[in-house]
């Protein structure tokens, strides 16, 4: 029997079992994700397909011969109505064929597969760096609130989150590559070749993306921890047991902040991905962002399409994963059964 504070619940056998509910929830999420993906790809398709004529002309310039134009038209099925074109594209996409580059005729899927790992490495490194910096900073700031260290951390936070990642990137290059000659400015070394040099070449790019995020996360975390320290009774109760402040922060306050932090990470994930576009350009990293820019300037529509849809799908996927994580992290959203 489920028992709650006023005994308001009736027998558990009332409506359904936990397993059924879990299946239902997963199904519901998949439907939402599916809808979003369809919407995303459709939107991209229609937006990019508005001015198809330019594609051919930009590729071949003013002297495009009629044969070349005709070939492009055939490849992109430009003679068919737009809905049909989308249909064709979607069906192909589901089979893993995201189109072909207009310029090089390479498979979009292959291009993406080659470049994606670099971008993923960049994103993961940036996220790790930002969290490694943010959590201790927030803990220190809330351990001694309103003291000098706290005010400094707050000031640093709002400054770092105001400076865009591309500005950071260039300043970092100026400092570390030009003047101090510590780290390379450009020149990516794949992981397979050498881990150390790979990390060297990724440090500045990851740092450039991580610093604004560090400001954001620390500010949130510090605010959340302080709010708990000031207003929540379980902190006072923990103190009453005779536990020290640091342990209270780490054992009692921090676990409660995690779901909030996850939300902040999820909401800003788009900025994280967007950041990779510029950063890859600056540091000449062979990732998806750089590919996107190149394709945009070359008007290589199928590639642009493939990339945009993929990035949106990744963003959605990450948010979905975060939603799922809430369930495991916060026991209140889990099974209630006493």
């Amino acid at each position: 029997m489920i028992y709650s504070k006023s005994g308001l619940w009736t027998d558990a056998a009332a409506l359904s079992s936990p397993r059924l509910e879990l299946c239902r929830a997963i199904l519901r999420r998949l439907v939402i994700v599916g809808t979003v993906l369809i919407g995303v790809s459709a939107l991209t398709f229609f937006v990019l397909g508005i001015l198809p004529g330019n594609a051919a002309q930009t590729l071949f310039g003013q002297d495009a011969t009629p044969e070349q134009l005709a070939r492009i038209e055939a490849e992109l099925n430009l003679d068919r109505p737009i809905l049909e074109r989308y249909n064709l594209w979607a069906v192909e996409a589901l089979h893993g064929n995201l189109g072909h580059s207009l310029a090089s005729h390479q498979s979009a899927t292959k291009l993406l597969a080659d470049r994606l790992p670099v971008t993923i490495e960049l994103v993961v490194l940036a996220l790790l760096l930002s969290l490694i910096l943010a959590v201790p900073a927030a803990l220190v700031a809330s351990r001694w609130p309103a003291r000098f260290i706290d005010r400094s951390v707050a000031a640093i936070n709002i400054t770092t989150l105001s400076i865009p990642s591309y500005v950071f990137a260039l300043i970092l290059v100026l400092m570390f590559s030009v003047h101090l000659r510590l780290l390379p400015a450009i020149g990516f070394v794949p992981l397979r070749e050498s881990v150390v040099r790979n990390l060297e070449s990724m440090t500045l790019p990851a740092l450039a993306i991580a610093l604004p995020l560090f400001g954001l996360y620390t500010r949130f975390l510090r605010g959340d921890l302080l709010e708990q320290l000031l207003h929540h009774d379980y902190i006072v109760a923990a103190k009453a047991k005779g536990i020290g402040s640091l342990r209270i922060l780490v054992r009692h306050a921090l676990p409660n902040s995690i779901s909030g932090l996850l939300t902040v990470i999820g909401v800003n994930f788009g900025a994280l991905i967007g950041g990779t576009v510029i950063i890859e350009q600056i540091f000449a990293l062979p990732g998806i962002g750089k590919l996107l820019l190149e394709s945009v300037h070359a008007r290589d529509v199928p590639i642009v399409q493939a990339i945009v849809v993929t990035l949106a799908a990744i963003s959605t996927g990450v948010n979905l994963a975060i939603d799922a994580l809430y369930g495991t992290i916060d026991p209140r959203t889990r099974n209630a059964s006493f």
């Binding site: 409506l15 009774d233 379980y234 020290g244």
Partner: protein, 619 residues
């Protein structure tokens, strides 16, 4: 080992134990808070001694400084607190200690049970770990040893009966169980001083009695000094050695409990003691009802279910918020609906307004069947049925002036011409006892009591036939409640409106209602003239409820064992049964399968029970 599931103890005065040396000595304690430069005093010149093995109760209303004093004794005040005076724990001055040393003594020498266990337990850590943390806070125990000791404590407090609750989370437990966890945490290190800060105010009536008894038992078993803080003088004075009454930060009275109870020296203490006793004097004589007049509101068989919010992996639960509720309300009559949190009272209020419409049953208002009306028709009926809400500040739009708020119903229902609206608004302000100059102010500039009066004025703007007050006075402090209740008394006689009061505070509604209905978990247990229901409750639940507010006809009456423990001991009740049967020791098979209908047992007095109490039954 104490069997804590036995019947609650009788309310005899506690046996005098050997009173030892003072373990807690507070002298000239003064606490003030620095709020952005402004210094506000919370406690002034507090003096008391607490001796080993004895019990002291500190009683006062909210804002009297009792909680602040306790937290000062443990060094748990926020950073902006300014403390002066002396607090000696076991002979050692506490205030001059550094934080590190204070930390050593907390939990070990002096511990605290907090008021609201739901908020005082960390929601993401299992309760067993929280108890184990307290066990091992100051000693170098291995984790396994700490866990063993924690499980022993949980066992001691009756929390391990069916299955191990060690890895349960706070939200999975009931209020009474959570409070026991809090107590386990506090006694884990066997402190010499135990402070219980309002340990029962967030619990329901049935569990309050058990928790106080539990604290007293543990105090004896572990030979602790107990400092019990409460706002209920009657309740605690019966079970402690001495009492200290506080008001607005000052010590009003201090002495042995029996003395303070029987011979209070100050007016304030006297008012606290007599407030409970003289309840009977407040009770309304039942009004001679005009017979054969068509009732204003008839509710028949109203039922409403909620499907609880579903999350992945949790069971979908059906909450029967209202179960076959039926009652009548006559014109210009005042009916009080009382019950605890979760009894369905607010759901009933919303159902009457069709917000949302109840799933089954009928509500007939002024001759119209409300569920048949939609849109404009329903709005027309709302003109005659208005509501006053619980929180005065959020029942007014913070950006609107008072006049705008009062005139809104007049505009919407088109019942007053635009040129006459301001005059009517002023008339209403005058009616509720507010100066007309308040009309141009914003709600943020008014006090809680004033906002509530504006809400009442707004409700009366369209001259409704019925005003529903949903816990309208629960958010106000005691003095304001008193004034607002007086206002409503006045309005009852002046306007011909019928009033429906929904409240959990039985004392408050006793003086303003003609009839009272008692609800429990969605069912009406008893309904009848207020005097009859209060003085001669026939339903076991009503009786337990009234006892919990210490309304006894004769002082020292033995508490009858109507309830038998915080956990239901019988099989679970089928959805269509009497909701009180799991807790009731008169329950039989019939009660558990079929809900008893309301049966008339006297002059307008109905009871829904197969085995109602006889009025003179005592044990």
């Amino acid at each position: 080992m104490i069997d804590l599931l036995r019947q609650p103890s009788q309310s005899a005065p506690p046996s005098r134990q050997a009173i030892g040396a003072p373990v807690l000595q507070v002298s000239n304690l003064k606490v003030a808070f620095d709020r952005n430069g402004r210094v506000e005093t919370a406690v002034e010149a507090l003096n008391f001694d607490l001796c080993a093995g004895s019990t002291l109760a500190i009683v006062g209303e909210s804002g009297s400084g009792k909680s602040v004093s306790c937290r000062a004794a443990m060094g748990l005040l926020p950073a902006n607190a300014i403390v002066s005076g002396s607090i000696r724990i076991m002979g050692e001055e506490f205030l001059t200690l550094r934080e590190r040393e204070r930390q050593l003594r907390r939990g070990r020498d002096i511990a605290m049970v907090f008021q609201n266990a739901e908020r005082a337990l960390n929601p993401v850590i299992p309760i067993g770990s929280q108890v184990a943390e307290s066990v091992g806070a100051h000693s170098r125990m291995t984790r396994a040893a700490a866990r063993r000791r924690a499980e022993e404590l949980l066992q001691l407090l009756g929390l391990q009966t069916r299955r191990s609750l060690y890895s349960a989370y706070p939200h999975e437990l009931s209020g009474g169980m959570r409070q026991r966890v809090m107590i386990a945490i506090a006694i884990a290190q066997q402190p010499k001083i135990l402070i219980a800060d309002e340990p029962t105010s967030s619990l329901d009536a049935v569990t309050q009695i058990q928790t106080i008894d539990l604290l007293l038992d543990l105090q004896k078993q572990f030979d602790m000094a107990l400092l019990l803080v409460s706002h209920d003088l009657k309740l605690v004075a019966q079970c402690t050695d001495s009492v200290l009454v506080m008001r607005r930060g000052q010590m009003i009275e201090h002495g042995p409990s029996a003395d303070v109870l029987e011979r209070p020296r100050t007016d304030y203490a006297r008012s606290l003691v007599t407030a409970a006793n003289d309840l009977c004097a407040y009770l309304q004589d039942s009004k001679a009802s005009e017979a054969n007049e068509a009732p204003l509101l008839v509710a028949k068989g109203v039922s409403h279910d909620f499907v609880t919010r579903v999350t992945a992996g949790s069971k979908r639960g059906l909450v029967r918020a209202l179960s076959n509720v039926s009652f009548e309300l006559k014109r210009a009559e005042t009916l009080a609906i009382v019950g605890e949190t979760g009894s369905g009272k607010s759901t009933l209020a919303r159902a009457l307004l069709q917000l949302p419409a109840p799933m089954s049953g009928s509500i007939v208002f002024r001759g119209h069947i409300l569920s048949d009306l939609k849109g404009r028709r329903l709005k027309e009926q709302w003109r005659h049925m208005q509501m006053v809400f619980q929180d005065p500040f959020s029942s007014l739009n913070p950006k609107w002036k008072v006049f705008d708020a009062i005139e809104e119903p007049m505009i919407g229902h088109r019942c007053v011409e635009s040129s006459l609206r301001r005059a009517r608004a002023e008339e209403l302000l005058h009616l509720v006892g507010l100066p007309v100059s308040l009309g141009d102010r914003l709600p943020t500039e008014l006090s809680g009591g004033q906002c509530q009066r504006v809400a009442i004025a707004r409700a009366l703007a369209t001259r409704p036939s019925l005003v529903i007050c949903d816990e309208a006075m629960s958010s106000l402090d005691a003095i304001t409640q008193h004034h607002t209740a007086e206002l409503i008394q006045k309005l009852r006689t002046q306007t011909g409106t019928a009033w429906l009061f929904i409240s959990h505070d039985l004392r408050m509604v006793a003086r303003i209602s003609d009839r009272t209905a008692v609800m429990h978990l969605g069912q009406i247990c008893e309904i009848g003239p207020t005097r009859a229901v209060y003085l001669e409750p026939r339903h076991p639940y009503s009786s337990a409820l009234l006892e919990s507010i210490a309304v006894t006809r004769e002082p020292g009456l033995k508490r009858s064992p109507r309830t038998s423990g915080p956990e239901p001991h019988g099989p679970a009740a089928a959805p269509a049964a009497c909701r009180f049967s799991p807790h009731c020791d008169r329950a039989e098979e019939r009660c558990r399968t079929e809900a008893p209908p309301l049966k008339c047992i006297g002059d307008g007095h109905f009871v829904a029970c197969y085995f109602p109490l006889n009025g003179s039954e005592v044990s």
